[in-house]
């Protein structure tokens, strides 16, 4: 092979083939789509905040009615220690109420699943309880639980456990009975059928309901703080309201949202950790 031939071949090799070009452009397009999707929410959020900022600044609406986001942010930074202290209180209430809701919700679901008698006895009563607007109970709860952690934990729990319970019952009931038969044919005990088949099969649905329950638990805790409290982000809101301090009020609202999103992300991480090695959803 002459030198010229070799060079020609090398040059030919440097030239990517048509297929390679098509593939790389396809890859590039896919990567671009992923980036667009990741950026979608933050960009939309930023646009909405920008509109808010412009409206609040230039429309002549008073700061007392609609403070500018920039002012709220400044306030959040300035009052950071205050907000953090009270956010911690609310966080404990939410996590406590939510945990109670999951434990009690799953426990009741299991008794309903395993006992037909308890199902017919409990279900109507639980549904009746669920139809009561929780806020209607708030004054009574203060009467019974006082001003401490009690009413917040209780409201947070009470507002969120139903979602966990119903979803868990449905998940357990919808498992094909063939799985249990199969396990039984291998000599499995009821406990083994529960741990090896029913619980892992129901886990995705339970996690789904936990996501609903968590957002409800936040509402319950703040509701409890509105009714009677000396601490927590709901209490900050009440204070801000009575001082006509709308900016602080907004700062507290945003803190609640951030707290909720943060806890939600923690739950997602826990779910992902427990579901490793499963078929990815989507």
């Amino acid at each position: 092979m002459s030198l010229a031939d070799g060079l020609k071949q090398a040059a030919f090799k440097m030239q990517p083939s048509k297929e390679e070009l098509a593939r790389s452009s396809r890859l590039r397009r896919r990567r671009r789509t992923v980036i667009f999707e990741r950026a979608a929410a933050p960009v939309l959020g930023a646009i909405l905040i920008l509109i808010w900022e412009l409206v609040a600044r230039y429309s002549g609406i008073s700061e007392f009615v609609l403070p500018q986001p920039s002012l709220i942010l400044k306030r959040m930074i300035a009052d950071c220690p205050l907000l953090l202290t009270h956010a911690a209180v609310t966080a404990i209430e939410v996590v406590g109420g939510f945990t109670l809701a999951v434990v009690v919700g799953v426990a009741i679901a299991l008794t309903i699943f395993y006992s037909r008698l308890l199902e017919v006895a409990l279900y109507p009563i639980l549904i009746a309880f669920q139809t009561i607007p929780k806020i209607a109970l708030a004054p009574l709860i203060v009467l019974y639980f006082g001003y401490g952690w009690g009413p917040k934990l209780f409201l947070s729990f009470f507002i969120s456990f139903f979602a966990v319970m119903v979803a868990t019952v449905v998940a357990f009931k919808s498992i094909d009975r063939g799985y249990a038969d199969l396990a039984r044919s291998m000599g499995a005990s009821e406990l083994q059928i529960f741990t090896k088949i029913r619980l892992p099969a129901a886990l995705p649905a339970i996690f789904g309901s936990m996501k609903v329950a968590l957002t409800l638990a936040v509402i319950g805790a703040v509701l409890g703080e509105y009714v009677a409290s000396e601490r927590g982000l709901g209490y900050i809101q009440l204070q801000a309201n009575s001082n006509f301090d709308t900016t602080l009020n907004f700062a507290a609202v945003i803190s609640i949202a951030v707290l909720g999103v943060g806890l939600y992300l923690l739950l997602l991480a826990a779910e992902r950790a427990l579901m490793t090695g499963r078929r990815p959803s989507r």
Partner: protein, 285 residues
Amino acid sequence: MSAGIAGALVMETCFESGVSVQLQKLSKSFESAAGEELSALSEIDLRIEPGEFVAIVGPSGCGKSTLLSMIAGLERPSTGILRVDDEALTGPHPRAGVVFQSDYLLPWRTILGNVLLPIEIKGLDLNKYRSVADELLVQVGLSGFASKLPFELSGGMRQRAAICRAIIQRPGLLLMDEPFGALDALTREQMVSDLQALWMRLGNTVVFITHGIDEAIFLADRVIVLSPRPGRIDLEVKIDLPRPRKWADAHLHTQFHQAMVDIRDCFERRGILHAENLEQPAVQT
């Protein structure tokens, strides 16, 4: 070394004999939602010899599946006696493996994890059986799929894994409830041939429930035909075609054809199949 142990364990299976199954005046009835007594099976008398391959065919709802789940120890007979290995059955038999129409692989477990499920449930040594499972997966053509999740496999492959799970403990009795009913015709044909080969190697007793008359005749030493509800034994056909049988060749055999004719006749008498009408359909105007 571990391969040697696996080989030895699988070899052992060749010498394990099947168990016998004996049904005496076995009946099963259910209570319908309206409170009526529904008889599903009526006075079944049947003795299945150790190592025998028995296929049970019958129309939908004739109680074939009920019969199988009674032999599996999952349901109690209403009356009659059911013996496995000459002992009255009181629950799932430790030497029985079951394959259903659905593979019932646990979707969150790998194929290997699914195959090892019975070992885990019985609290046996997982390490010892891991090599057996690997060996079995190779034998059914699933080498390289041990660490895959069930959704990554085709229907036929999943059912192969389910069969591995049923035979990992070298059961003396393999109970199969329409195991290939959900598969396409080509896959089914392959599975039927492979099952024959597997059974010839294992030498266990098989009770095989099916809708497919051809698949029953091809596989079985004896085909039992059940009548419509309440299921009774309508006909028994012995098939002693030489083994290993080949799908295409077996169909050409006179005995295969005769069995087919007899079983179809039986279904026609019961009105399950209708005599084939070979007249040209009238042209619609």
